[in-house]
């Protein structure tokens, strides 16, 4: 292979490419949407899950708690905050804190529409006999303390539809009310729920909403700072905002520290600021190319991908180190480059094979990381290959390399005595890992979440306080229209009643309770008798009972009004808390592939004791668009699928690397020599991680891929025949420095609190160090004239 002199053309191409990257990046959207770490091609049920997480009503809820003062003060703050936030209808769709205003509106809605909402309204419900029974019950109720409330409604509702409706919603958990607003059971926290207009994944909007809530709290508790009230916030939006902030902060902090440390080290090594800057050129170009490639490939760049950019400092800076350190006195840099180029190229291709595995992942987040790395490394190598030699000052050599060379060589040489211990350790590690097998891996999706444990605990507490149901089991009904989804829910409700009677669960929620399907509403209207018939039945029923004559005239007119009232729609619920309920239980989904719209009704189940029993009860439903979902099992299954997938792709990547080495080195023995230290490093790293940070996640696996990518460079350079002893020594020094910079970059990441960054940092830190050490230990390559691999 011939090396052409770096030309003005190369510089021009590079400058244009950089400019293009900057332009692309300037228009790039950066996200911290955690659903990037959920499946790309999931089952329909999982798609609902992901959509709900992204922009469903659930994703728009912010749970707010105020604590640290006496209940009356907390209640006052709650009311003031709610009042201020309700002034911002563009930001918040609803602020609920248990104040009677919304409750009254809900009751008003139920009262006005009782005859179309009540499931009891069927043919015969208003017959003479049925009315007689109802009136006798009324009489009894009048004698009870509840009678005091009955006075107002009895003449309008002798069949007790309102009581029935209210009773239907009573079993559902709700927060306690104190001083007129929601409180936790123990009275220690006032509770509010805010529903934002913006979707949960719109982190900028969520951040704005949180700022408004904090301001409202500051205003509401103004002048009583001494009371020590504190504000607690939780919910998907809060998590997203916090995670983004944390990832941003970690990525920035570790980038800055890593850059500073690596620069200091390289400055000591090169003794030339200009060369230092040149050395950072491949890194910077690679980072730009990586971000631009991800932006073009995925439409948006995830915050975690950016965080990953830090790690590129560790790897891409190596290329310049290899080049600069191996420049020999008296020869132009381009000649040194042509000597190491085949090894460099092979190392790059090995890395690309490794990261290519990630590119295939169904995990958009991992695929982004893969693309970022591949594009970044190729750009960095190209810059090293075509740009750097031309820009290197004439006569530049790394003096420190000469000074250190003999010591490093001696060290590398004596490392050989550790051969057998390393082999023994590897065998031991294989045995340990083999014994643990499946227990090594975490099976829970939650391990990927960037949400801190303390945040999760707070969220669980607030959810319990607010009485939000534990949404683990739900029945999902798909339909082509809103009304069909409601009708489907009604059919399923009948089946679920059977499950309740059989003791498989305690209850369920359904949007159709608040908004029955149009056919059901019409059927109920039809079940109300004609005026004359109803009057006659009522008169017969009243005979012999002490009710005053004409008492039930209002009932007769209300029933007639209900018979001809307009059909209720979602819009009829506007302004009630029931609207929020319906929206969270009924979702519209636009399918990307087909231009169709699917409506999905969700029926969360409560107190499930026998999920298989429920599934059996549902199985007799002819409709195959009904699914019983166990969210926990579903999400964990999802994760396990991913893990297996990543595992498979990693193996494919490994096979690709072996094939690549075979094709390039053309010798099974040489391939084995190169692979031995890599394999030993990966196995021992794996074993160390497994025994220190159990259980391992997908991110550790990705870290091991990176170890292979970086470590293969070391092994290849070690294995390469050097033209003479001097060159060999320079190679060793370059490897040492490359390794130290990698350790700085990744070692710092191990201190991150973001699980992904931490897992990658610790894995690659340990793995890269071991790769170099084991290359020295296991690869015997006496210096001597020989052919470079070509």
């Amino acid at each position: 292979m011939t090396i052409t002199r770096p030309s003005h053309l190369a510089l021009a191409v590079w400058a244009a490419a950089i400019l293009a990257c900057v332009l692309v990046i300037a228009r790039t959207e950066f996200t911290a949407d955690m659903s990037a770490f959920l499946p790309r091609a999931p089952t329909p049920v999982q798609r609902i899950l992901v959509q709900q997480l992204r922009d469903g009503v659930v994703s728009r809820l912010i749970l707010i708690a105020i604590e640290g003062a006496a209940p009356p003060l907390l209640a006052q703050t709650s009311r003031r905050m709610a009042a201020e936030l309700r002034q911002l209808p563009d930001e918040f769709a609803a602020i609920t804190n248990g104040e009677a205003t919304t409750l009254d509106r809900d009751r008003e809605f139920l009262w006005r529409n009782r005859y179309v909402l009540s499931p009891a309204v069927t043919t015969g419900h208003f017959s003479g006999a049925a009315l007689r029974a109802a009136l006798e019950e009324d009489l009894q109720l009048l004698g009870s303390p509840a009678g005091v409330l009955l006075g107002k409604i009895l003449p309008r509702d002798p069949t007790g539809e309102l009581l029935r409706l209210v009773g239907q919603f009573e079993g559902q958990a709700r927060p306690a009310v104190r001083d007129g607003v929601w409180f936790a059971q123990d009275g220690g926290r006032a509770l509010l729920v805010a529903q934002t207009r913006a979707a949960g994944y719109d982190i900028d909007a969520q951040e704005r909403a949180l700022a408004l809530i904090r301001r409202a709290f500051a205003n509401a508790s103004d002048g009583r700072a001494s009371t020590g009230q504190t504000l607690l916030l939780s919910g998907p939006g809060v998590f997203a905002v916090n995670s983004r902030a944390r990832i941003k902060a970690d990525a920035l902090r570790f980038s800055v520290i890593a850059t500073a440390l690596v620069s200091t080290l390289l400055l000591t090594l090169y003794r030339s600021p200009r060369v230092l800057l040149l050395g950072l050129l491949p890194v910077a170009s690679g980072a730009l190319a990586g971000v631009a490639a991800v932006s073009l490939g995925f439409g948006a760049v995830h915050g975690i991908t950016l965080g990953f950019g830090v790690t590129l400092i560790g790897e891409a800076v190596d290329y310049a180190i290899y080049l600069f350190t191996q420049v020999t006195p008296g020869t132009p840099p381009a000649d040194s480059l042509s000597r190491i180029w085949p090894t460099l190229r092979l190392g790059l291709l090995t890395s690309v094979c490794g990261f290519g595995a990630m590119l295939l992942s169904g995990f958009p987040g991992l695929a982004q990381l893969g693309l970022f790395s591949i594009a970044g490394l190729i750009a960095a190598v190209l810059v090293t290959r075509f740009i750097l030699p031309a820009l290197l000052p004439p006569g530049f050599i790394v003096r420190a390399a000469t000074g250190l060379a003999s010591k490093v060589t001696a060290l590398a040489h004596s490392a050989r005595v550790l051969r057998y211990p390393v082999i023994l350790a590897t065998v031991a590690a294989i045995i340990i890992l083999g014994a643990q097998r499946e227990a090594l891996w975490s099976d829970e999706l939650a391990t990927l979440s960037p949400i801190a444990a303390s945040e999760r605990t707070l969220d669980e507490q607030l959810r319990r306080d607010i009485g939000a149901p534990d949404v683990r089991h739900l029945v999902v009904v798909d339909a082509a229209s809103e009304d069909a989804a409601l009708a489907g829910s009604e059919q399923i409700s009948a089946r679920l009643q059977v499950s309740i009677e059989r003791g498989h669960m305690e209850g369920f929620e359904s949007a159709a309770l608040y908004l029955p399907s149009a056919p059901t509403q019409r059927a109920r209207q039809a079940a109300i008798p004609e005026p004359a018939v109803l009057r006659e039945s009522l008169q017969a029923a009243q005979r012999g009972l002490p009710f005053r004559a004409g008492l039930f005239e209002p009932f007769l007119s209300d029933a007639q009004a209900a018979k001809s009232q307009a059909t209720l729609t979602r819009a009829s619920l506007q302004g009630t808390a029931l609207a929020l309920k319906v929206d969270s239980l009924l979702a519209k989904r636009d399918d990307e592939d087909a231009a169709t719209t699917t409506w999905t009704a969700m029926l969360p189940l409560r107190g499930v004791t026998d999920a298989t029993g429920i599934a059996r009860d549902l199985a007799s439903t002819p409709d195959n668009r009904v699914t019983l979902v166990d969210l926990k099992r579903e999400s964990d299954a999802l994760y396990q699928t991913y893990r297996r997938e990543v595992m498979t792709y990693s193996l494919l990547g490994a096979i690709a690397i072996v094939l690549l080495l075979l094709a390039s080195l053309r010798s099974v023995r040489r391939v084995l020599v190169v692979l031995a230290p890599l394999a030993a490093a990966v196995i021992i790293t794996f074993c160390i991680l497994a025994s220190s940070s159990n259980p391992l996640s997908i991110f550790h696996l990705v870290g091991l891929l990176l170890v292979v990518a970086i470590g293969s460079n070391y092994a290849l350079f070690f294995e390469r025949r050097a033209a003479n002893a001097g060159e060999r020594e320079r190679t060793l020094v370059s490897l040492l420095f490359a390794n130290i910079t990698t350790l700085i970059g990744f070692g710092l990441l191990a201190f991150s609190k973001v699980p992904l960054l931490h897992a990658l940092g610790s894995t690659v830190g340990i793995g890269a160090f071991l790769s170099l050490a084991f290359s020295a230990v296991l690869i015997a390559r006496p210096p001597g004239p020989a052919m470079s691999p070509a």
């Binding site: 005091v148 006075g151 002490p546």
Partner: protein, 202 residues
Amino acid sequence: MTSGGRHSTRHALIALVLAASFICAATAAEDAAWGIEQLMQDLAQIKTARARFVERKYLAMLNAPLDSSGTLVYTAPGRLEKYTRLPKPELLVLDQDKLTIEYRDRGQRRTLALQDYPVIWAFVESIRSTLAGDLPTLNRFYRASLAGSEAQWRLSLKPADPKTQSMVKEILIGGARNRVRTIEITEAEGDRSVMTITEEAP
């Protein structure tokens, strides 16, 4: 004591009052400073009580009064059971913040969370808090005033909250020493009920 009664009557509230009246056969200290505080303290002495009640309700909706009778059982501080026997069996249990109504003949049972029904809450609290001698709770719902003497007193409760005012005008609880004898409720729109409580033979 046991709550063996399966009988029923009407107002649980009344029952509470009744219970209070039985138990302590008042060794009333003839204190010169007798007043609402002292009355409450005396009532609080009673830990369990059991009594028969007879209630008559005059309702505008009906053209004849509604009679009922049964047994009341009170257990300090928060539980009151009202077993109505006539005209139809009904069991009403007030326990902490829940009110359960059970119709055994129909196999029906309903539980209300009092916080959802402020008026009913205020209503039942008038009797429960009186029986428990819980003046702070009473003051939270009512403006209370006491008339008469320790031997024959009359406690008047007027709702503090406008919403309850729109339902209940006044609750008059009459008694002697630490026993409650009558509960008279006048609703805002003129409906009225009178409950008479007599200690059950041991």
